[in-house]
């Protein structure tokens, strides 16, 4: 007696359900992006925990090592923050545009967002060059450069994503129905923005 006959599975699989798959709810790539962002939140959570632990156990005043100046929100940090926050808005205008099917507007807003992101990165690099302390200058230097550096790396990653998005938008690959990549990159870009707001608050405001 064959196994099929004995167990009665394969030979007798009727009634069949036609495998009919309809996607309901959030598109799978966006679910993936959200999950990835969750892991990134934990990554920055680890770095922030290291920051607060270092700050709590640090003997002496919590500030950049002498002779460097204390961190100031002007002239650089606050404008850079405004630039990055603004870029989140321009990104979202792009998303809304493509949801309406407005391809030229998507291209315009993506280009502006990319430009703002690059400006932020350039400003950050310039800031590094004038701060007057380095990563090996005590705990403060280490946590400052690690946190801002990894945030910068994420901005860079976002900028790469935006560049690809722009190239694809130039070829008219997105439409009102089909633009999941735009949504995914915008989620990531907003996340990077939120991390910066948390960083800015921690480093420059809660001194």
């Amino acid at each position: 007696m064959s196994v099929e006959a004995r167990t009665g599975v394969s030979a007798d699989i009727t009634p069949h359900v036609e495998i009919e798959r309809r996607e309901v709810g959030m598109p799978t790539p966006l679910v993936g992006m959200l999950l990835f962002i969750a892991s990134e939140v934990m990554f920055f959570g680890g770095l922030f925990a290291a920051y607060f632990n270092a700050r709590a156990t640090f003997p002496g005043p919590w500030r950049p090592p002498e002779p460097a100046h204390e961190l100031e929100i002007l002239p650089l940090a606050l404008p850079l923050t405004i630039i990055l926050v603004a870029s989140s808005f321009t990104m979202q205008f792009g998303v809304w545009a493509i949801r309406r099917g407005d391809q030229p507007a998507l291209r315009r807003w993506t280009a502006i967002t990319l430009l703002l992101g690059i400006t932020f990165l350039a400003g950050q690099l310039y800031d590094y060059s004038i701060l007057g302390f380095g990563i090996s200058d005590g705990v403060f230097g280490t946590v400052f450069y690690t946190l801002t550096g990894f945030h910068g790396a994420h901005v860079f990653g976002g900028a790469v994503g935006l560049t690809i998005l722009l190239a694809r938008a130039m070829q008219g690959q997105f439409s009102a129905r089909n633009h999941v990549a735009v949504e995914a990159v915008s989620m990531y870009w907003h996340f990077v923005d939120v991390v910066w707001i948390a960083l800015f608050t921690t480093l420059y405001i809660l001194k």
């Binding site: 196994v3 599975v9 394969s10 699989i13 009634p15 359900v17 495998i19 798959r21 990134e40």
Partner: protein, 554 residues
């Protein structure tokens, strides 16, 4: 995703099997790659274990010097955990989860391939330390300051950090994939509470990986910065805090323990019902216990640090004791599943029963270690080594072998020889207990772990000798297993699609399954759709299950 167009020319399309396996994005092939790759690392780390046990057979240094010994146990722990147990369970999950859900593949097949290929790369980097002046030698926990650039100068530690970051990234990507698959790819009718328990455990495991691993990544990057760019995260001489690393490491490391054990629990929870011919007792309770373990696992990390004198003992002792509760519930559920069943002793069943009886010992010693005063005595002794091997080896590895014997017919269409399988099980089981049970009395009498040499105390000498014999028995037990795998692949018994009379959807397609898994699916009305199908003419059964045929089917 909704439509698949068959190109007529597809039949003419062919490529060499090497290219096919190197570039595959099919979850079943990737699953097999995971499993084979993991077993290779298992054998490598097993050889390191034999080096350790040989050195410890009698007091004095006979075979290796301290430096070699320290590298051996560091690499043994690292490889076994990160490149054997976690990925091998991921491999089974990769193969089985889409099948169990009635899905054609994982949600992101190409990311799936990427997360596999990062593993041999990361593992190779970790091992490459041996080629560049010595592998990492600070224990798999890599505590600074011992692991900083002053006390561990070799490049081995940097390679360990880079390699493990890659492996960690691979498992993060893998867990994104699993969660997305489970939430988005289930077949019609497969509601969350009809998913097989194994899928539930994979879901919770993936969530733990997703949330715990990035924290370790952050810590490893911080340590890398300390070592290479003059950072001071963990360096007390420049104001850093070495205990911070321990917090970060165990914040990851304790969920990691559950990452390792939960899927094995899932495997056992699939196998026990099949060979008891009963459903799992208390399906929902089991699901909630799994979720409970997942949640609690984030609040117990500091029980690894009781002896540091820098943690809130009552809080962590309480949370750690509480995590024993859901684990106890699972134990009762397994026991009740066996109760009044119709039990057949196949090899997978033997390994599953071995799992619950050995994991029990690990669970009891774990509860003992959760008590801070007792931990002050037992911490960092061989008692901890015994405990973790009863959990990782008596638990997870038994689960891995149970899964191998259980799903081998699914993957190949051939069943592993049962007689050889039983020989394997019994040598393995006895060897395991000889190797690791003596570590309890060793630890209780005060033998610290991670020492290359020990005092010539007659009791210590006796138990160490027994343990070494046991370790070699485990190694011997692998021989019938390997012979079995090779012989079965060449000339094994062909057993059809569903040799075990199993319950879940992976058995509702051919063995091995076609590239996109299913042409058709049986109706899914419970967590045992294939069981329901097999017994669908059994009106009594259907009525009892509340599954009377619907109008269209009658």
């Amino acid at each position: 995703m909704a439509t698949t167009t068959l190109i007529p020319k597809a039949e003419a399309y062919s490529r060499s099997w090497v290219i096919e396996w190197l570039t595959t994005v099919d979850h079943k092939k990737i699953g097999i790659l995971y499993i084979v790759n993991s077993f290779l690392f298992f054998f490598a780390a097993g050889i390191l274990a034999l080096v350790i046990r040989s050195e410890l057979a009698i007091p004095g240094l006979q075979f290796v010097d301290e430096a070699t010994y320290n590298q051996a146990f560091t690499m043994h722990g690292t490889i076994m955990i990160f490149l054997f147990i976690v990925p091998v369970l991921s491999g089974f999950a990769n193969y089985v989860v889409p099948l169990m859900l009635g899905a054609p593949d994982m949600a992101f097949p190409r990311i799936n391939a990427l997360s596999f290929w990062l593993l041999p790369l990361g593992g190779g980097l970790i091992f490459a330390g041996y080629l560049f002046g010595g592998a990492a030698a600070e224990g798999w926990t890599l505590y600074p300051p011992l692991s900083n650039d002053t006390y561990s100068q070799g490049v081995g530690t940097d390679l360990w950090l880079i390699g493990l970051t890659l492996v960690g990234t691979a498992s993060i990507l893998g867990s994104v994939n699993f969660i997305a698959t489970i939430f988005k790819m289930r077949a019609p009718g497969m509601s969350l509470f009809r998913m097989p328990i194994f899928v539930w455990t994979v879901l919770v495991t993936a969530t733990l990986i997703l949330l715990a691993t990035p924290v370790l990544t952050a810590g490893m990057i911080a340590l890398f910065i300390d070592r290479n760019y003059g950072g001071s995260f963990f360096d007390p001489t420049t104001g850093g805090n070495p205990v911070l690393w321990q917090h970060i490491f165990w914040f990851f490391g304790h969920p990691e323990v559950y990452i390792v054990i939960l899927p094995a629990m899932g495997v056992v929870s699939e196998i026990l019902p099949v060979f008891s011919r009963k459903p799992l007792f208390g399906y929902r309770a089991f699901v909630f216990a799994t979720i409970g373990i997942g949640l609690l696992s984030f609040s117990v990390w500091a029980h690894h640090m009781f002896a540091t004198g820098q943690v809130a003992l009552p809080f962590f002792a309480f949370m750690t004791a509480m995590i024993g509760v859901p684990t106890g519930v699972k134990m009762f559920n397994w026991m009740a599943t066996l109760w009044r069943g119709s039990i057949s002793f196949t090899t997978p069943m033997l390994f599953a029963i071995g799992f619950i009886s050995m994991f029990l010992i690990g669970g009891i010693s774990g509860v003992m270690l959760a008590s801070p005063p007792m931990d002050f005595h037992l911490h960092d002794t061989y008692f901890v080594v015994a405990h973790l091997h009863y959990v990782f080896f008596g638990g997870s590895v038994f689960g891995v072998f149970a899964a191998t014997y259980f799903w081998f017919p699914k993957m190949t269409g051939r069943r592993l020889n049962e007689r050889l399988g039983k020989v394997h099980f019994w040598i393995h089981f006895i060897g395991f207990n000889l190797a690791f049970f003596p570590m309890h009395p060793l630890g209780i009498s005060g033998m610290p772990r991670r020492i290359a040499d020990y005092a010539a105390d007659p009791i210590w000498m006796f138990w160490n000798a027994v343990s070494t014999v046991g370790a070699f028995m485990i190694a011997v037990s692998i021989i019938p297993f390997l012979i079995n795998v090779v012989a079965t692949l060449i000339n094994g018994e062909r057993v059809g699609d569903d040799p075990w009379e199993a319950n879940t959807l992976e058995w509702a397609t051919t063995s091995p399954p076609p590239p996109y898994n299913f042409d058709r699916l049986p109706p899914i009305r419970s967590e045992r759709p294939v069981f329901d199908l097999r017994h669908k003419h059994d009106a009594e059964h259907l009525a009892a299950e509340g599954l009377a045929p619907t109008r269209g089917e009658a």
